[in-house]
Symmetry: C2
Subunit: 484 residues, 2 copies
Amino acid sequence: MIDQHWTFDRQSQTPLYLQLYQQLRQAILQGAFGQQRRLPPGRQLAERLGLARITVSQAYDQLVAEGFVVRRPGAGTFIAHHLSLTKTNVELARPFQPTLSPWGRRVVGTAVPATPKQLKPEIDFGFGRAFPHIFPYDVWRKLLARYLSTDDVMLSRYGSVAGFFPLRQALADYLTRWRGVVCTAEQIVIVNGAQQALDILARLLLEPGEAVLVETPGYADAAALFRLNGARLTAVPVDDAGFCVDQIPAHSQARLAFVTPSNQFPHGGTLPLERRMALLHWAQQENALIIEDDYDGELRYDGRPLAALQGLSADERVIYLGTFSKVLFPALRLSYVVLPSALVRPFVQAKQLIDRGAPTLTQAAVADFMVEGHFERHLRHLRQAYGQRRQTLVTALQNHLNGLVKYADEPAGLHVMLYLPEGIAETAVVQAAAQVGVGVYAAAPYFMAHPSPPAILLGFSGLSEPEIAEGVARLGAVMGKLLG
Amino acid sequence: MIDQHWTFDRQSQTPLYLQLYQQLRQAILQGAFGQQRRLPPGRQLAERLGLARITVSQAYDQLVAEGFVVRRPGAGTFIAHHLSLTKTNVELARPFQPTLSPWGRRVVGTAVPATPKQLKPEIDFGFGRAFPHIFPYDVWRKLLARYLSTDDVMLSRYGSVAGFFPLRQALADYLTRWRGVVCTAEQIVIVNGAQQALDILARLLLEPGEAVLVETPGYADAAALFRLNGARLTAVPVDDAGFCVDQIPAHSQARLAFVTPSNQFPHGGTLPLERRMALLHWAQQENALIIEDDYDGELRYDGRPLAALQGLSADERVIYLGTFSKVLFPALRLSYVVLPSALVRPFVQAKQLIDRGAPTLTQAAVADFMVEGHFERHLRHLRQAYGQRRQTLVTALQNHLNGLVKYADEPAGLHVMLYLPEGIAETAVVQAAAQVGVGVYAAAPYFMAHPSPPAILLGFSGLSEPEIAEGVARLGAVMGKLLG
């Protein structure tokens, strides 16, 4: 009858009639019935397959409803005339191979730093991990629950594209008060991570081939995004005080500069006021815009964070990026951008077209978290917890690697970047450390020019103080051996 | 001393020293100190402003820390030498005016359908509203709470770019079983709304000027997105059975076709199998891809939903889009895309670069919601509730507008599109309805060619049955008057 291998799973959640329907459908599409247009009578098929007649009848009904077969009263059930009866050799059918656009080809060509799939090391100095026990989950749960009542209509509508307004107000208040940002709530847009803000900005502002200044070493994902959108990158070196403004090439013709003034990533270091003023002066001269990525400006461990570059610009030449990933938790995927007035409308309209805004629920909960004082309290806890961890790390470095490594000793951030002695390969250190259960990470991907000086990153935010001390002790032993 | 108007708010959350610091900083940046480099001694300023000496001293400390001033022991506190002393006329400083890229100019030039800011009508036939009392908030709250415990590390890391794997598995199972989609979990990527998937696909696949087929009337936001990314749109008409495949221009050279086979948006109608096979045949001939937007394929009220177009393609020529916005709630912002194998890597890599993935928490809760059977139960409730509402709407249309309007009577979706009698202006109907407290929406924005036939959309998903009946009765009265 039909050249078909039938399988039925009576334990499956899928009803038997659906299993039969699916197999009949595939048989028809693949031409398994050959030249035979008439399906076997339901009773006959039911007997042959050991199924109830109603099961076969329901499967046929579905095939009729979908137009695969037609019932001719008195004659039987027939495969629809428009379906080919040719046997398709599914194994030979070549799956579609897309031709990618230039953008698509750049995506595929971009080396995305691979997430290491190896076994999780015993002591993992991974960067940007949040220490889970610090976050006040009880408060968070309570705030979320507040917005989950059946009477709340907030969940049933699309949210505002620019973000939940009370959150934008809370941020404007916070940024003015604590970060020296000069803005109104209307200039703030909530984004799904800082990368999204960079992507929209690059698309809005850059034409293919235009130059963007980036730091080296620097935030590789930002550089990748600018490159992806057709920009030409000009890498400017950093020193212990951050971005070397005096090393911007004289005729860079850059339209944008991407900088991390609060705490240079990943080198470390705070841009002094003099360089900030010089950078603003450069932007005015060149009619360029500056993107200030304040990814962890809140995390300073010696007194109040320095005020943002944004607040120093008299003519709105600085776009400020902030994120909740580091200070709340990364899985939240909430960041924000403070835009010059003239960019608000284009940015919001772009976001409207490409994703319609961030989820409302989390935004509402974060707004309450800020307005009700939990945020500043949490930041105090974080500063204390991370400040101590950083101090433990620095002390351990002095004890176990003194004189061997250099680093910018900036009491800020969630990691320390160690420059290794000349002549030692960073991959050798990473591998040797892994063998004693310690995860450290190569800095090479963050350099825009190669060969880069050998360096590794030690993130401390996911570890306890004893783990940090032990990890550095093991790293010291490993380095000692490597240096013979 | 200083030409400055001081204001202090002792009730503010901002400490007084910060208020003073902020005003001093502005005064310095704006050149208010004139040629005077030395700040007044702390004691003197404190007396003059009626502040404690410690307050002034803390403000000066902050200015020192940030490099605005330097202390010279025995001599006083001086404005840093690199700061200009020229008085800046802030009011004259012209805010930065960005030059937008061609993409940016297209964004600004795209007419984004304005969210109506008018008073909410008493009976609002707005489209795509979810009826809030149907969703099982208690279950949802419980599922979210499950992942909010302090011991869970999920929140403290970035999630997987392609999406939370158990959710992708649950979707693969659901889509295979109920939507006739042929896929593995690896082909599914979670996105922040279907617009994001379209944006990534357009960027990956289209070069400027390439043609895309869209339906007219059709989903305007998708068309806007293709246009934004430089595509040339070819509009293909629809009839009561959806996309008119036989009206695709012979030499369209289209690389993509965007269609809504389950329930054509906004006209209504299910694409019959014959047209589906013809569309797949067209795609093979033209080496084109098809995007199947199954935005509400779950919402059919007469038996089982028809199987997706995706499952009929033997060579992976169909990209399937689905969303939780309609069947859970819009503020969730979770959609998914089922990709041909060859597109998975480029798509995930693009998403990695531009936003790093959707929030983990909601994905985990949705995964459990599906795996534990809540989703299918909820769909049954939705189908019943919306099916009844739709029936009420159709009955009311027969009672009050019989013979006056035409519509595709497809038992599916969340709205009905009414074609008005020739010669009546849809804006007149919208306005007259508003005056009797009824919100109905013009269909013109959904047509790709103008003038479009007068038509309005009636969404029924946010209303109770009595509201629907009353709303249509009022609409009938209004139309009667308009037609004299």
